[in-house]
Symmetry: C2
Subunit: 483 residues, 2 copies
């Protein structure tokens, strides 16, 4: 812990920018347009966003952490970071415009508070193992960035991966820091094998570290229009005028990646040879690389019986998936749709999603919505022992007074105001506040307000069926079942 304490001391200038704006077509049908990968628990107990935030708490001070997301995802980000971050740490872009505008906005905001700030920029939906190696890499990258470098994190490959871009390391600058010889697009299998043998080729992780001032200088040089757009509203950033100003800026700027816009052109780019384990979790097949496998090389999650399966990935959200003789296949089962695909073709899930649009099956691109007298709910995710619902109550609507034998519920208000009865207590919870209802405690949820009440409900317990609702009284008059 001394090393970390020391780093915290040293790096009071170190900020983190987590980019959480990605769309989720590759993990369809579990991810949906409005519920992308970073919000899913596919790699463990926590969502990918939660794991990312947790990992970075070891690296920077909480007040130096920022999540940049888009309006359509900001509710979900607030919900998932409720326990770990204050809401002011979430920056909302009116719309996603790829990484360059997001990084420019973050840099302008951070530099305004601290001229000497350094920014560690990274995606919210990657899987990283080896915390000590990660922290060491950040520390070393920070030194190079302090000297004016744009440091990209290159991960040492352990297989001839064709799904990643590569960075070829050139001459050594210092210990694990090298000049960039070239950025290389995703290779074919033969080149990927050659890269692995060569040793100078590193996976381009999409993680960067630079001084806010350095990246802004480079954006000014290589993306002058973008720079000008944000510098025009710099004074409004961090004030009440920011949201309106951003709307104006975003309507006029084009989507561009920081890689293409700056890094592939700048003379200040270096690459850090990082020793931590990393995956971009770019497809269902990636679970085979990062999750524990059985003796036959299968990753099986959820309710499933597989006879003679080999090298396959089976994910069930609750229904039974039963298979015979699966070989190198991916099967994903959710409440309204099932995907079956050979592992080597998972990249085509995106095309499949396009095909669903063409076939008039758009409803399968959004989470499944269930209507109720008091409003509606959407099951965002369901797995062994837990279920996450997005619940919307109409103004003045009121659920029955009820209790559950087998499940506890955690409620987080993301919009509107809730009136809650919990046991004999009655109280209100506001946006960004939460409450917890243990099993066997009678409770009622009500929307006393004039606008829809939106809450995220996390149920946990051994049995999560709609049949475990004991109704004590109900304005809709229902005495059993259906929340």
């Amino acid at each position: 812990m001394t090393a970390r304490k020391e780093m915290n001391k040293k790096n009071k200038n170190l900020h983190v920018v987590i980019m959480a704006g990605g769309k989720g077509t590759r993990f369809w049908p579990l991810s949906r347009e409005t519920f992308p990968k970073q919000f899913l628990k596919i790699t463990g107990e926590k969502t990918m966003l939660e794991s990312t935030v947790e990992r970075l708490h070891g690296v920077v001070r909480p007040e130096n952490m920022m999540i940049i997301t888009t309006a359509s995802q900001s509710d979900l980000v607030r919900w998932q970071t409720k326990e770990t971050l204050t809401p002011d740490r979430i920056v909302v872009e009116p719309e996603g415009r790829n990484t360059a505008p997001a990084i420019a906005l973050a840099a302008f905001k951070i530099r305004k508070k601290n001229k000497d700030a350094m920014m560690l920029v990274l995606p919210s939906d990657h899987h990283i193992t080896g915390r000590a190696a990660f922290e060491a890499a950040v520390s070393e990258a920070a030194s190079a960035a302090a000297a004016g470098s744009l440091v990209t994190f290159g991960v040492v490959p352990d297989r001839p991966e064709t799904g990643y871009g590569y960075i070829k390391a050139g001459t050594r600058v210092k210990k694990n820091v090298f000049r960039v010889s070239s950025f290389v697009e995703k290779p074919d299998a033969g080149r990927a094998r050659a890269f692995l043998k060569d040793g100078a080729y590193l996976w381009n992780s999409g993680i960067f570290l630079f001084k806010a001032q350095t990246i802004l200088n480079e954006i000014k040089k290589y993306m002058p229009a973008l720079y000008k757009a944000f510098s025009g509203i710099e004074k409004k950033l961090g004030t009440d005028l920011e949201p309106g100003a951003l709307k104006g800026v975003y309507s006029g700027i084009k989507a561009e990646s920081i890689d293409y816009g700056v890094l592939e052109k700048s003379k200040r780019v270096s690459v850090l040879r990082a020793g931590f384990g990393w995956s971009d979790v770019g497809s269902w097949s990636a679970l085979g690389e990062i999750m524990e496998k059985d003796e036959a090389g299968n990753v099986v999650l959820g309710n499933s019986v597989n006879m003679g399966a080999e090298g396959s990935i089976v994910f069930s959200s609750g229904r039974l998936v039963a298979s015979i003789g699966l070989k190198d296949m991916v099967v994903v089962d959710t409440s309204d749709a099932t995907l079956i695909c050979p592992r080597e073709r998972v990249q085509e899930v995106k095309d499949l999603v396009d095909k669903l649009k063409e076939s008039g099956k758009q409803e399968f691109l959004l989470p499944k919505r269930e209507e109720r007298p008091w409003g509606h709910f959407v099951v965002l995710e369901k797995g062994p022992g837990y279920q996450i619902k997005h619940i919307c109550l109409k103004p003045k609507a009121r659920l029955s007074l009820q209790m559950h034998n087998h499940r506890s519920e955690h409620w987080i208000v993301v919009s509107g105001i809730a009136k809650v009865q919990k046991g004999d207590e009655v109280f209100y919870i506001n946006k960004n506040e939460s409450t917890y209802i243990p099993n066997t405690v009678k409770h009622r949820l009500e929307n006393p307000g004039m606008i829809p009440l939106k809450i995220i409900e996390i149920q946990s317990g051994e049995h999560l069926g709609e049949d475990d609702i004991i109704r004590l009284d109900d304005i809709y008059g229902r005495t059993e079942q259906q929340s």
Copy 2:
């Protein structure tokens, strides 16, 4: 039609015995222990049992038709033959004991009414094409049977099938009738190819025609214990004492097939070389032989999008099945379970069902049951535009007065008594009676009795969701949704 009229005239002695007692593990998860293949619409608009009955209406008089089934399936048989047969045509074995006892019972009952009766015996769950060829085959077999032969129907193979038993035809008796040279077990691929080339080998279809007197003589000779058991209760057959007498007999007899018990031993067996198309529909893979395929050789039924599939069978009961690159696979999706299996391994679905038992997943062997305040229901089958429910109302229970915009409902009472409100009319329906509720007509179902009311509900319409229930008043107080 002259030919058929003539046959009807000629064959006033011809009876039909349809055996409808089979269990349904091979079509899991669509078929379940209590809902086997013969009750499913897998090959067309009608269930296999319905198609079988319809086909035979062209061959025998309705009063000469008999369905022999077991107690556990008799409700389903009554329901599915409601429009086509009178209930007295259904004979119920207390328990299934393979084909020999069923045929013996049928023969005793039929001979009691008509000493000269001939019996065409056939399974309820086979697929037959070519009605004229079928009727011609029956006609020719009847001539041979009249002369004292036990005629088995052998189908001319059109492929080297390894899933069927064969009958080798010996010397010709007359036109398409031959002595049986031998019965042959399912061959391996090499022998099956040789059989196809040879031409003397016919598929053993499990269809027979004989005089009741002939088969009883042969049963007496080769299965004397079985003969004795039934002859002991012959006087009670066709009287009120029959059910009790059968219980006694069936507790003491062992399960045996007519093939093994009689046909493979008798000297009177001949084989009819039949020209109709036939499949025993023994597995999901058989759909590939009998259903229409797309250009890539796929059979796709229900809600499904398949990119680049070849030679595959995809069946969805309602949820979306989306696939990429399926090759010679079977995918079957139902409300609570999904099966994925290579076509060449569909025979192992039986083993998979065994494995489910071992894994404590017995609930997936029965249809999915949903509890309600008034009782429960089970969705027996769901497909494009229709849904079949088995509904059970507790004594004195009453559903809400309701209507549906998009669906009509057909109700058949299989047990108990129903009080029905339909529009402004109120009436009762008894066991084996039915009523029809068009869409937009208000209706209510009630159990006025002291025993559970069981009905089969067939819904049809464009939209069959639980959300299309407009409640007008409800003793459970529910005002919207949930029937």
